[in-house]
């Protein structure tokens, strides 16, 4: 990769990371999704087709990524940008399956680095509360953006951009070693695939801890589960069924309450 390509990709890694300056809607949830990230990398490195070929399976693998309560189990943005870049840089001359395998491995490395950096920034942001407090004490409404945006994002930028530069530069250096793909053992790819699939349970488990308020709630959760397993519904279909159920539940409970009061 050329220097300008490294800088551009690292910039997108930052923009697509959770809590970047453009907001999670445009950042984490748009630029950070593997499907979008692979297009961006493809455009930067001038090989959209290969980028999409590896981006699509990465997107499928990381579909269930949720980060409730700040629990960023896996840095999707890092994972995909590094993963796709790695696949393009090292994948020359490999077949499709091998290229995708490469992408999974680099995404694993990237995701791990990203996850660590998220925790670093999460800790580094703590002192900002002191700053915010100082301004609040004296009612400085106009200065609240200093701790939140200016300081928060300096830290955020530093924690994403710099490591990304380092990783990408190392990759470029290492790519001289042309038989790199052969070095990665198959079990690493397999293990990372298994790991990816299991990681979705983290997000689900944490959301559950907000939703499961009574013991019997578990069976409502199970109802959604079996609609997929036994009735073969898609997520979308279950969402529709759930909305129908919820509205009927609301109407029923409201009616019963009314009768109970009267």
């Amino acid at each position: 990769m050329e220097t300008y390509q490294i800088i551009l990709i690292a910039l997108f890694v930052y923009l697509g990371s959770i809590g970047s300056i453009i907001g999670n809607t445009m950042g984490w949830y748009t630029l950070g999704r593997p499907l979008v990230a692979s297009l961006v990398v493809g455009v930067i490195l001038g090989d959209v087709q290969t980028a999409m070929i590896v981006g699509i399976p990465l997107q499928i693998m990381y579909m269930g990524n949720v980060t409730p309560g700040g629990a960023v189990a896996w840095d999707l943005s890092y994972a995909t940008y590094i993963g796709v870049a790695g696949a393009i840089v090292f994948g020359i001359g490999l077949d499709t399956a091998q290229t995708i395998g490469l992408a999974v491995v680099f995404a694993g490395i990237g995701g791990l680095v990203g996850q660590i950096m998220w925790n670093v920034s999460y800790a580094a942001n703590l002192p900002l509360n002191r700053v915010a407090n100082k301004y609040a004490e004296v009612g400085e409404t106009k200065k609240m953006f200093i701790p939140n945006v200016v300081m928060g994002q300096s830290i955020g930028f530093a924690c994403r951009f710099i490591p990304a530069i380092i990783v990408l530069t190392s990759m470029t250096a290492a790519s001289a070693q042309s038989d790199f793909a052969a070095i990665i053992p198959g079990w690493v790819t397999t293990a990372l695939g298994v790991f990816g699939g299991m990681m979705a349970s983290l997000g689900m488990g944490i959301i559950l801890s907000f939703l499961l308020k009574k013991n019997y709630h578990i069976v409502i959760f199970l109802a959604g589960f079996v609609l997929v397993t036994y009735f073969s519904l898609s997520t979308m279909a279950v969402a529709v069924v759930a909305i129908i159920t919820a509205i009927l539940y609301y109407v029923a409970v409201s009616n019963i309450d009314k009768k109970g009061v009267a």
């Binding site: 959770i18 809590g19 970047s20 300056i21 809607t25 984490w28 949830y29 999704r33 499907l35 979008v36 297009l39 959209v48 999409m52 699509i56 499928i60 269930g64 949720v66 980060t67 309560g69 700040g70 960023v72 189990a73 999460y122 800790a123 942001n125 900002l128 509360n129 915010a132 407090n133 004490e137 004296v138 609240m144 953006f145 701790p147 939140n148 079990w187 397999t190 293990a191 790991f195 299991m198 983290l202 689900m204 488990g205 907000f210 939703l211 709630h217 109802a223 959604g224 589960f225 079996v226 609609l227 997929v228 397993t229 036994y230 898609s234 997520t235 279950v238 759930a242 409970v253 409201s254």
Partner: protein
């Protein structure tokens, strides 16, 4: 004279939140500073002296969290409450308690319905567009880049306005008639069903355990080589399909919720399980 937040200030408050809700996230106040920044222009307009402003700011830099896109309704509600407070129709205590009360439902609903349901559905559609033909594979992400931010932005702004308009009367009316409880219960039902479906759809885990042997086929009198005579996954699935992802998720839930494990620790555990499973898979010939 009754105080009223101007349209311009409301927009300013919304944008402060929409763009910068995640900038200073940390474990102490979560999105507290971001919330305070979102409230800053509102406070500026509603209160006249430094003391009042300081007090208002201080109550908003405290802990706050939500799924920020759907959760913009909280900001709207608090705008309404602050307005009422400035007009002596509400108290700071009520503001704080309403804010805290909204953390749970808006987080859970936002995460489960928007982040975990809407995004995957939209992605699935865009994916299938991308998969249709390699030449037009860029169409999928481009579509996503337009539809998702635009749609979410519009939703977020409308929820913000909705929150502002229902404001204090809305909240009080709701709370007194018990409607808030009913609504929260309803949302919980909705969320639980959806999360159940998500778990079944997106969490994958299989026991890579298989017994392979040469068997003698008596009816034909020949030896069949490398027959799979036992496959753990198929047996487990015939008892209860996707039982492993189910237990994995419930296990994570249990450790997180009851044993107070941190997500990092849980991630480590999952990594270890994945490693062990992969190892077993290679040993028993499940992976080759």
């Amino acid at each position: 004279m009754t105080k009223k937040i101007s349209e311009k200030t409301l927009k300013k408050s919304f944008w402060n939140w929409f763009l910068w809700h995640g900038c200073s996230q940390q474990a102490e106040s979560m999105l507290g500073m971001a919330f305070a920044q979102s409230m800053a222009p509102v406070i500026d307009e509603l209160y006249d002296n430094k003391e009042e402003k300081a007090e208002a700011l201080k109550r908003h830099i405290t802990l706050f969290n939500t799924e920020p896109q759907v959760g913009s309704i909280c900001n709207g509600v608090v705008c309404g409450l602050e307005e009422a407070n400035a007009n002596k129709a509400c108290t700071p205590e009520l503001i704080s308690s309403v804010k805290v009360a909204l953390i749970g439902p808006t987080s859970a609903i936002g995460d489960s319905l928007w982040v975990a349901t809407f995004i995957p559905i939209l992605l699935t559609i865009c994916l299938s567009i991308s998969q249709a033909s390699p030449v037009t594979s860029w169409l999928g992400p481009v579509l996503y880049m337009i539809v998702y931010p635009l749609g979410t932005g519009i939703l977020s702004w409308n929820l913000f306005k909705l929150g502002y308009k229902s404001g204090i009367e809305g909240m009080q009316g709701f709370m007194s008639t018990g409607k808030l409880n009913t609504l929260t219960d309803t949302m919980t039902v909705l969320g639980l069903i959806v999360v159940g479906a998500l778990t079944a759809s997106f969490v994958t885990a299989s026991v890579p355990f298989r017994i392979v042997r040469d068997v003698f086929d008596a009816t034909q009198g020949i030896i069949l080589e490398n027959q799979v005579i036992f496959e753990a996954d198929i047996m487990l699935d015939s008892i209860f399909p996707k039982i492993l992802p189910l237990f994995l998720t419930l296990g994570v839930y249990y450790l997180y919720s009851k044993r107070k494990w941190s997500p990092l620790k849980l991630m480590g555990l999952i990594l270890i399980i994945a490693g062990v499973f992969t190892f077993v898979g290679y040993v028993t010939g499940f992976y080759v």
